[in-house]
Every structure is written in structure tokens, then in C-alpha cells.
């Protein structure tokens, strides 16, 4: 790409900056990507963008990923992040760049309208550049979204494996959500540590909150039971829905001698009996 071509673009923007800015903001308003409260911010962002764009164009490098374009890239990345957090769609975010095309082409026509060749060249250069910047903006938006999702996944992993003490020597582990191998590690470690800390010998694993039980999940559950057993604690699996019971039989999962109960209450009753305890009414 001929670097000198960018300099004409830079000069055009410089000459007509105020007009371009005004028309650009009008376009953004028309597209509905401006709300009253944001107007001041967007004006600022647009002004800064034009200034940075001018700067980078003057330096002549065609590659927008080069160092000379860092200010523009940072601006766009911040803009995408803000737009994403405010709930705009990727298209609305990209519109920030694409709505600049019309005012810019208008001014190019004014400058180079007499010479069809020059005009064509300038318009082509401008459109290629703005397309690249627009795509960059949309990708930045995507990256921000992916970062949020991954952070939320991390949070969910940490939040969802509590081990609670039901009674002396009886622990309960209510599992919520899918049980993959990573989660199973966390569950096993936390359960075993609690067994040591509380000296419990019965652990009730409740799977009411586990939506899907397939052979892999069953394997993870049985691993957890085996590990607890190695430490001298027996496990009871409770919260088995009718669907799950059918799935287990269909898949031919071998539960061995693990006690299974439909509800946590039933499992608790079994655990109490094991420890020689019973629940009694208080005589008035």
C-alpha cells in the first residue's frame, strides 16, 4: 500500500475535521447508538478518535497492528469494552467506525471530485482502512465478552462445593451443577479435608442439583466415594431423581455396595441409625 496515499487522507480529515465530526455524530445518533446520557462520552470518544486517526495516518504506516497505531487501537479496545458492559450489540459497537464512512467520503468527494482516478483511489484506501478498524473493534468486543464468561466460570467453580456438617460425625455435600473432572478434584479435596477436620465417618453426597448424570459423572461420583472410603468414611448418595435412576440402570453403571437414597432426609435417617442415634419427640 502506497504510504503517501494515507497522507492525503490525513489532510482531508484535518481540513474538514469539525464538519466530519458533526456529521459523524449525527449518523451515530440516527443509528440509535447514542442515548442522551452517553452523548457527552461519545462526542469525546469521536473527537479523540479522529485526532488519533489523523496522527497515525500522518505517520504513514499501512498496517493497523503496527506500533504507530497503538493509540487508535487502545481507544477502540476501551470503547468496545464500555459498549459491551453497557449492553450494546457487536454491530452497534462496530457502527461507531462504519458510520464515519459517509461524512469522510463526502469530504473526499469535495477534495478530489474533479479527478475520478484520484477520488476512486482515496475512497478505496479509506474504505479498506475503516473496514479493518471496524473489524478490529468488533473483535475487541468479542474478547471482552469471552473474558467475562471465563471469569464467571471460575466463580461458579469456587462457589459451588460447600461441605456441611449435619450432625456429629455426619457430613453432607450438596452438589449443584455439572460434575466434570475439574470439579470432581475440587469436591474430593474439600470433602476429604472436612472428613479429617471433623473426624466424620459418614458423608452424604446429594445430587439433587446435578442436572445430568452420564457414565462420566457416575465415574466421578464413585471415585469420590472410593476416596472417602479409603479414609474410613462411608458415603451415601442421595437426591436421585426417577430419571437419574433410570439412566443409571440403562447405562449399566455399577454402584457396588454404595447406599443410595432418593432424598437427603432418608439418607440422614440411615446415617443416624448407623451411629446408633434416633430422633425422638420431646415429651411435654
Amino acid at each position: 500500500m502506497n504510504d503517501a496515499v494515507y497522507s492525503r487522507l490525513a489532510e482531508t480529515i484535518n481540513k474538514h475535521e469539525t464538519d466530519i465530526l458533526k456529521e459523524w455524530l449525527d449518523n451515530q445518533r440516527a443509528e440509535g447508538t447514542l442515548s442522551k446520557s452517553l452523548e457527552a462520552d461519545v462526542q469525546q470518544q469521536s473527537r479523540e478518535f479522529l485526532a488519533s486517526l489523523k496522527n497515525s495516518l500522518r505517520q504513514g504506516r499501512a498496517d493497523i497492528m503496527a506500533a504507530e497505531w497503538i493509540e487508535v487501537r487502545d481507544l477502540l479496545t476501551n470503547l468496545s469494552r464500555n459498549r459491551m458492559q453497557q449492553g450494546f450489540t457487536p454491530s452497534q459497537t462496530g457502527t461507531f467506525i462504519f458510520s464515519l464512512k459517509q461524512p469522510l467520503f463526502e469530504r473526499l468527494r469535495k477534495e478530489f471530485g474533479q479527478d475520478a482516478d484520484s477520488l476512486a483511489r482515496e475512497v478505496w484506501t479509506a474504505t479498506l482502512l475503516l473496514d479493518k478498524l471496524g473489524l478490529f473493534t468488533i473483535e475487541a468486543y468479542q474478547k471482552t465478552r469471552e473474558a467475562v464468561i471465563s471469569r464467571q466460570q471460575q466463580d461458579m467453580l469456587e462457589l459451588s462445593t460447600p461441605v456441611v456438617k449435619l450432625w456429629h460425625g455426619i457430613l453432607a455435600l450438596p452438589l449443584i451443577g455439572t460434575l466434570d473432572s475439574e470439579r470432581t478434584q475440587v469436591v474430593m479435596e474439600s470433602l476429604l479435608q472436612q472428613i479429617v477436620d471433623t473426624g466424620s465417618d459418614i458423608a452424604i453426597i446429594d445430587i439433587t442439583g446435578v442436572p445430568l448424570v452420564d457414565t462420566l459423572v457416575a465415574q466421578h461420583l464413585l471415585k469420590t466415594v472410593a476416596a472417602a472410603r479409603l479414609m474410613g468414611a462411608d458415603c451415601i448418595i442421595s437426591g436421585i431423581r426417577p430419571q437419574i435412576a433410570q439412566t443409571i440402570v440403562h447405562l449399566g453403571v455399577e454402584l457396588g455396595d454404595v447406599i443410595t437414597k432418593a432424598t437427603l432426609a432418608d439418607a440422614f435417617a440411615v446415617a443416624l441409625t448407623r451411629r446408633g442415634l434416633a430422633v425422638q419427640a420431646i415429651k411435654p
Binding site: 474430593m188 479435596e189 476429604l192 479429617v196 473426624g199 479409603l230 474410613g232 451411629r275
Partner: protein
């Protein structure tokens, strides 16, 4: 060569493993234990592994073997004090030691052995 001491506690034998067991030591233990079970007429063997930070598949299998050998000699084996990390490792290695009884610590292990020979209703 160092040997792992075997203590007699009533009808039971108590073994506390405090050093990292290398293979020869483990085989020697197996040997000594079977000899002592016969010579003392012990009905139960308590193996305390609470000091073991690392248990590999060999040690895992050795524990299983000791339990099986004792069973042939009509003695019950209880392994106590397994650390969480060790339990997870054994499970991941696929060694579930199904035939070995386990307890959290020596106290509970002794209780388990006593109950095995004097079954009475639990009073907690």
C-alpha cells in the same frame, strides 16, 4: 537394614509406618507381619499410615496384599490415617483397596477392630 517395628496391643498388632517405604522395606514388612500374626495368634492388624505423604502404586498394592495375607491367617486388617492427597492419588491410580477396612485414625481403627470381634449394640 532398618525394620518397621510391630507392636502387640492385646489381641491386635499395631504397625506405624513413619519412614518413606522403599520396596525392600515393604516386602520385609509383609514377611515380618505374617510371621508375627502366626506366632502371636493376633486376630487383627492395625496399620497406621498417617505419616506417609506419598503412596505409590507399589505401596498401595502392598497394603492390599497384607490384608489378603492376614485374611488367610484369619486376621482382620485395618488401615488408618490415610491423608486426603494420598487417598485421591490411590483412587486416580485405580487402587480402591476394596477388601481393606479403613478408619480415620488409630482410635477409630481400634474401635473398628473391637467391634469386629465383640459385636454389640453401639452406644454413642
Amino acid at each position: 537394614m532398618e525394620k518397621i517395628p510391630i507392636l502387640k496391643l492385646g489381641d491386635f498388632l499395631l504397625v506405624t509406618i513413619q519412614v518413606d517405604m522403599h520396596d525392600r522395606l515393604a516386602l520385609a514388612l509383609q514377611d515380618d507381619l505374617s510371621t508375627r500374626v502366626v506366632s502371636s495368634g493376633a486376630r487383627g492388624v492395625l496399620i497406621d499410615i498417617s505419616a506417609l505423604e506419598i503412596v505409590d502404586s507399589f505401596i498401595g498394592r502392598m497394603l492390599g496384599n497384607i490384608a489378603a495375607i492376614s485374611a488367610v491367617l484369619d486376621a482382620v486388617t485395618v488401615v488408618v490415617g490415610m491423608r486426603p492427597a494420598v487417598a485421591i492419588t490411590l483412587v486416580e491410580l485405580g487402587i480402591s483397596l476394596k477388601s481393606v477396612r479403613t478408619a480415620l485414625n488409630v482410635e477409630k481403627g481400634m474401635e473398628l477392630l473391637r467391634q469386629a470381634f465383640e459385636p454389640r449394640s453401639q452406644n454413642q
